[in-house]
């Protein structure tokens, strides 16, 4: 038996077939202007969650392009992460009663990490609120500090916001996923779209055979039209509204509905929502409710690729990366005009926006009866993602920001 092969690390050149040689060459030209500069990225977890997923791919690519990048992770006890979870919810506008002790735990953890981390790089990127206080180290060495905020802070809890603003003000700039997610601050704020990786399991091209087998496994008929929503079983994703819209469509048109999600087993509320969804579906054999485990990236990919239309009928949304994934797969999308979705779905150009159950049903029926228009929307959506929402674009933004901070911007 031969030795186990090491998985090949994906490098920037692997993206040439996706974005073209010119994009990669120009990125290297931009990076050459940063020769000798180094970067540090800091967040609070190495695995799990979108930020870690992005950094796992971004950090090696940044080093590959010639800007050595170090990724550090802060440590903290359960009490600290309980506080930051509370802060996270409070920044989203949820009810929260901060105590003086909570602020003290937060401060103490920042100091502990400041004592163990060294900041010798030229650019420091801090991700999300958990390590925000590390900016106190910026006096150690002249460097540029930026804060990447991945969450919507447009309606925050005032006390938590005021506490964190004292740190935010010390950064050179902040980056946020949508103009609608932010508030006035005395520092520059850059629009910084999240990104998907076209080479990841969730987005890579799949063999038709695998897609067919996946449908078979879930007893979905590949010969009939498929409407799909991929999202957690969460009320904010409005799965019951999706079923209502599907039922309105079914009065006139044959189709199946797939609601694919996860997390219902770990999250008590998710379990409850799943039960409500199952009850709403009743005994309709054409509604497929799939509670998938976290390692189902390939299956999700296959379900999206097999879909006739992808839905995202959220009541509230962050950026909505499931929409990005569907657009990348050239799927016509019908989605709610909430959160970051309108940045991706330009109504009637890269997809259809809707504001109600009835509106969603109407747009689905329209696209089912106009397949050429649906195909055109899917193709335009793919181009929109290619231009704006791929990991390579994210890498380029970082390089440009570092150049801009260095004073090289026009």
């Amino acid at each position: 038996m031969g030795a186990l092969s090491t998985p090949k690390l994906i490098g920037l050149d692997d993206y040439v077939p996706v974005v073209g040689q010119a994009e990669i060459d120009e990125m290297r030209a931009v990076a050459a202007c940063l020769e000798g500069r180094t970067v540090k990225m800091v967040n609070s977890t190495a695995m799990g969650g979108g930020v870690a997923e992005i950094l796992n791919r971004l950090v090696p690519l940044m080093t590959d392009v010639g800007v050595p990048t170090r990724w550090d992770i802060i440590t903290g006890g359960d009490d600290f992460f309980a506080v930051t979870k509370g802060f996270h919810n409070a920044l989203h506008g949820a009810a929260y009663e901060p105590t003086p002790q909570a602020f003290e735990i937060f401060r103490a953890c920042q100091q502990q990490n400041l004592a163990s981390l060294r900041f010798e790089e030229d650019f420091v990127v801090i991700h999300d609120p958990q390590p925000i206080g590390l900016v106190e180290a910026r006096d150690q060495k002249p460097a540029h500090w930026v804060w990447r905020c991945h969450i919507d802070v447009s309606r925050p809890h005032p006390e938590v916001w005021n506490f964190l603003v004292q740190y935010m003000k010390r950064y050179d700039a902040m980056m946020i996923s949508s103009p609608s997610f932010t508030r006035a601050l005395p520092i520059h704020q850059y629009l910084w779209y999240p990104s998907i990786d076209p080479l990841s399991q969730k987005n890579q091209e799949l063999e038709p055979e695998f897609i067919r087998e996946t449908l078979e496994r879930f007893q979905i008929n590949p010969k009939r039209r498929i409407l799909t929503q991929v999202s957690r079983f969460d009320r904010l994703k409005d799965p019951l509204g999706v079923i209502k819209a599907y039922k309105l469509v079914r009065k006139y048109t044959d189709c199946q509905l797939v609601l694919a999600g996860g997390g219902a087993k770990d999250d008590p509320e998710g379990g409850q929502v799943l039960a409500e969804v199952q009850e709403a579906a009743g005994n309709d054999p054409d509604i497929h409710i799939l509670d998938l485990p976290p390692w189902s990236a390939l299956e999700i990919n296959a379900l999206q690729r097999a879909s006739t239309i992808v839905l995202q009928k959220s009541l509230q949304e962050g950026f909505g990366l499931t929409v990005t994934e569907a657009l990348w797969k050239k799927k016509p999308v019908v989605a709610s005009a909430v959160g970051g979705i309108p940045l991706q779905v330009i109504h009637k150009l890269t997809g259809m926006l809707a504001h109600s159950v009835e509106g969603t049903a109407y747009q689905i029926r329209y696209l089912l009866s106009h397949p050429a228009i649906a195909q055109r929307l899917g193709e335009m959506g793919h181009e929109h993602v290619k231009e704006n929402f791929l990991v390579t674009r994210n890498l380029k933004r970082y390089l440009l920001l570092f150049l801009a901070l260095s004073g090289a911007a026009r």
């Binding site: 994009e23 030209a29 931009v30 006035a184 309108p342 929109h384 231009e387």
Partner: protein, 218 residues
């Protein structure tokens, strides 16, 4: 083969978007804030946005028109804003003046509709363009074609569309170089006529290459 008096240096260009922190919810508010918002913001929502959405060869011209149509449901006003052709302007301020004129006429004639609340707010943002020399420089027409084949869409947009705001005004970098450094005025004029509104950037690239190659063969 004719050598250029000055070589053409392709510049790798790319843009960051900075949030201005100004949002509006009615056409009337759009008008008021458009009077004072930075030139970099007007540029972002017109010149830059056209490049960012170059693949939409029908129905998209600038962010203002798109918002007025999709969020305010005012198709007539959207049509008027769409019809402003950025190639006709020597400066962002001249473009701003025409945007203001169209909006002022609408607000004066349709005061109630101008106060209607939009589905989604409009957020003003501004462009921060970063340029560095690309690894391509052309001394003659074949080298120019080679470089053109290799540059990114953003760089093509920078030279072909944004350039019209730089000296010399209202002409793209390619046409200016073809005339000024190679003496090919007619070719430069033909390139300048290629329509950015009805072609994708890749389409524009192909059309420029076709013009240049047919000229070389002739």
């Amino acid at each position: 083969m004719k050598q250029a008096a000055k070589p053409f240096q392709f510049m790798a260009a790319s843009t960051l978007v900075r949030i201005c922190g100004v949002e509006v919810r009615t056409v009337a508010d759009l008008l008021e804030h458009l009077r004072t918002i930075s030139a970099a913001s007007v540029f972002n929502h017109t010149f830059q946005s056209l490049g960012q959405h170059h693949f939409l060869t029908e129905g998209f011209s600038n962010d203002f028109a798109q918002w007025v149509l999709a969020a305010c449901n005012q198709p007539q006003l959207a049509e008027q804003l769409t019809s402003l052709d950025i190639r006709q302007y020597e400066s962002v301020e001249a473009l701003r003046a025409d945007l203001l004129r169209v909006l002022e006429e609408f607000v004066a004639s349709e005061p109630a509709r101008a106060q209607q609340r939009a589905f989604e707010p409009f957020y003003f943002c501004e462009a921060v363009t970063v340029t560095v020399p690309a690894p391509w420089r052309a001394h003659n027409l074949p080298e120019f074609c080679q470089g053109l084949e290799h540059i990114s869409r953003e760089t093509l947009h920078y030279h072909f569309v944004d350039a019209r705001l730089r000296e010399p005004l209202t002409v793209n970098d390619f046409s200016y170089w073809l005339e000024d450094s190679l003496g090919l005025k007619e070719l430069g004029d033909r390139v300048d006529l290629i329509d950015i509104y009805t072609n994708t950037l890749d389409g524009v690239r192909q059309l420029i290459l076709e013009e240049c190659r047919s000229w070389t063969e002739a």
